[in-house]
């Protein structure tokens, strides 16, 4: 029985080997698992984390730079992890100029899932830290328009990103092209990794998530986009500038402590809201986000709105007066 079973599965492997033209999951029996199986040549390790590693590679067919994300599989008693299947499946459905493209998927039995993505020059975090933030208003506006276009596309397909931050915004240098990346891939396998960077990631988290609400929706991404917007203008994370013990305190310090009038339902969501009551009058966005034109500040204030139901949508943002300035088009 074992031999019979093995032959049967082997025959499928052989069939798959004939699909050399197929760009997805091309495999050749007998070949060493790893980079060669994915038709890439590894150049170096670009990043490393609890989930696995990211390699900078050359595509052996096109010679183009690509990024291969290698995710270590766990809980193999249940086969290929559900989270990986779901995330890859979703990435396969996203086709947009401002979303990083998944080129190839392969998996080596018992060990890794390999995802090959198009490569971009750097991310927005690196851009801000190393090259000085985009000082000119045109670049900020262009980047914001592209980010919002990608987010609006995802939301129109009921897809949330939930982890938008500058390091997940990739940039093609010569074209000044923006692409969103890291749609939550391997989050379930990176809990420890995320905790070590908790302060970093939570600077971009919406208040309803920080309140541990389980009923959040697309609005969480707009809050994150607002934080990115502010960071491009002032050159550092907005809620890092407002130095507080916890992020909610920083948010309330900036925008004012919410009340039932300003955020209906807040007292149920935050029974301990009284800790912050009357403690903060809003400092106001304009205190920290200087050098942003009035329409930009207006858009930012609608993104960084405490009440999720009143926060502006990505689609509405794209129609905002901030983007109708003909000078940048």
């Amino acid at each position: 029985m074992w031999n019979e079973e093995s032959d049967w599965i082997g025959s499928f492997d052989a069939l798959l080997a004939r699909l050399a033209e197929c760009s997805m999951c091309s495999r050749r029996s007998g070949e060493r698992p790893g980079a060669a199986q994915m038709d890439v040549k590894i150049l170096d390790v670009a990043a490393e984390g609890g989930y696995g590693r990211v390699f900078r590679c050359l595509d052996v067919h096109t010679g183009a730079l690509v990024a291969m994300k290698q995710i270590t599989m766990v809980r193999l008693s249940q086969g290929i992890p559900a989270q990986i299947i779901r995330e890859v499946s979703l990435l396969r459905e996203l086709h947009h100029a401002n979303i990083v493209k998944l080129l190839r998927v392969g998996f080596t039995e018992n060990r890794y899932v390999n995802l090959v993505f198009e490569h971009l020059d750097y991310d927005l975090h690196q851009f801000i830290v190393n090259r000085g933030y985009p000082k000119d208003a045109t670049t900020v506006k262009s980047f914001m328009f592209q980010i919002l276009s990608a987010v609006a596309y995802c939301h129109s397909r009921k897809v949330l990103h939930r982890d938008l931050k500058p390091s997940n915004v990739l940039i093609n240098h010569s074209k000044r092209l923006i692409k969103l990346a890291d749609f939550g891939l391997a989050r379930e396998f990176a809990d420890d990794f995320l905790y070590t960077e908790k302060l970093g990631t939570s600077w971009y988290r919406a208040p309803e998530i920080l309140c541990h609400s389980r009923q959040y929706s697309t609005q969480v991404d707009l809050w994150s986009v607002g934080c990115i917007f502010a960071e491009m203008v002032i050159g550092q994370p907005l809620f890092q500038v407002i130095n507080c013990r916890d992020e909610l305190e920083g948010i309330f310090k900036l925008l004012g402590t919410p009340t039932e009038e300003t955020w209906p339902g807040i007292t149920k969501l935050m029974p301990n809201l009284h800790i912050y009551c009357s403690k903060f009058d809003p400092l106001g966005l304009e205190t920290f986000v200087t050098d942003l034109e009035p329409s930009g500040l207006n858009l930012l204030s609608m993104m960084l709105c405490l009440d999720p139901s009143k926060r502006i949508s990505a689609e509405a943002s794209l129609k905002h007066a901030y983007f109708t300035d003909v000078n940048w088009i």
């Binding site: 798959l16 999951c25 559900a82 299947i85 397909r157 897809v159």
Partner: protein
């Protein structure tokens, strides 16, 4: 990242307008290619083996949401269309059934007991017990064949959209209609001929069939709402409706062991389209409508459902 696989058009009115056409545009990417049905018709053996695997999947899924078996069978058909092979070995088909079921359960975040699966698969069979690694390997093969595109658009995805078109106000009536259509969709999927139609067409036809059985007096309004939908091809809906009708009647008759020809007109949908055309030509034709109502045969669809007349709403 998160998405509602079962109900991607949920809260239809909240979605931007461009979300609806996008679902209709991409649904063809998630069904077997057109020649899949023809390749099956050439071989009675393949049809019976597919039916066996479908039956295995249904056994595995009988306690779960109907989307789960539908999704698993969709994977099966897409896989067979890609591989072009059905195995005569019962254990191989069991492995394929388990793998498709497992992948669908993962996509839907449905927890299931691997032990229960093993027990069910080994019932009445002294055969193989599949190791986790074997199932994983088969899952990998299916994933590769489907190019990791596991978010299939199913007919269930379109039901809320069409039900909104019907403008039934009572939530209980809407649920009855949805449940009836879901039953029909699941039963239809077992037959190869339904695979020729797109998920949206299957959803529209199943809803019309269910509404014909459950709300016969409202049926003409529902039919008009479907006909007016610009994303739907009327002729294709007629064909699909008739296929569904044949499948449902076959099952109904096999249960009752009746061999007589059907009392219901085979082209009932054609008749109603003609009726609508007649109304448009002659204005309101009360006599024709009344005759239609009297002639129509009302059948309880497996349940004793009574609907208060006062809940009906004229279009």
């Amino acid at each position: 990242m998160d998405f509602d696989l079962e109900n991607p058009l949920g809260n239809f009115h909240d979605l931007p307008c461009d979300a609806v056409p996008s679902l209709f545009l991409i649904e063809s990417d998630h069904i077997p290619p057109p020649n899949y049905c023809q390749s099956f018709k050439a071989s009675d053996f393949d049809i019976s083996v597919r039916r066996d695997v479908v039956s295995l999947i249904s056994q595995l899924s009988c306690t779960f949401d109907p989307v789960l078996p539908y999704l698993a069978i969709n994977y099966l058909d897409r896989f067979l269309a890609h591989q072009g092979i059905l195995q005569p070995k019962p254990w191989a088909n069991k492995l394929l059934a388990i793998s498709c079921f497992s992948l669908a359960a993962k996509m839907l975040k449905t927890e299931y007991s691997a032990t229960d699966v093993q027990v069910l698969m080994n019932h009445g069979d002294g055969g193989a017990i599949f190791e986790a690694q074997t199932i994983q390997r088969m899952e990998g093969i299916v994933l590769g064949a489907l190019q990791w595109r596991m978010r299939s658009i199913t007919p269930f995805s379109f039901i809320p959209f069409f039900v909104n078109l019907f403008r039934l106000k009572d939530p209980a009536l809407r649920q009855v209609l949805k449940d009836g259509a879901s039953e029909i969709i699941l039963k239809s999927q077992r037959e190869i001929k339904v695979l020729e139609f797109k998920p949206s067409t299957v959803a529209a036809s199943a809803l019309l069939y269910a509404s014909h059985e459950l709300f016969p007096f409202q049926y003409p309004c529902f039919l008009r709402a479907i006909s007016d939908c610009s994303y739907i091809n009327k002729e294709t809906v007629v064909q699909c409706y008739n296929v569904i009708h044949d499948i449902t009647r076959e099952e109904y008759e096999s249960v009752l062991n009746i061999n007589s020809t059907s009392d219901t007109p085979v082209n009932v949908l054609d008749e109603h389209f003609l009726s609508l055309e007649s109304e448009k030509t002659n204005g309101t034709n009360v006599v024709t409508q009344e005759q239609d109502f009297k002639r129509r045969k009302t059948t309880d669809y497996g349940n004793n459902r009574t609907v208060p007349f006062s809940h009906f709403h004229q279009c």
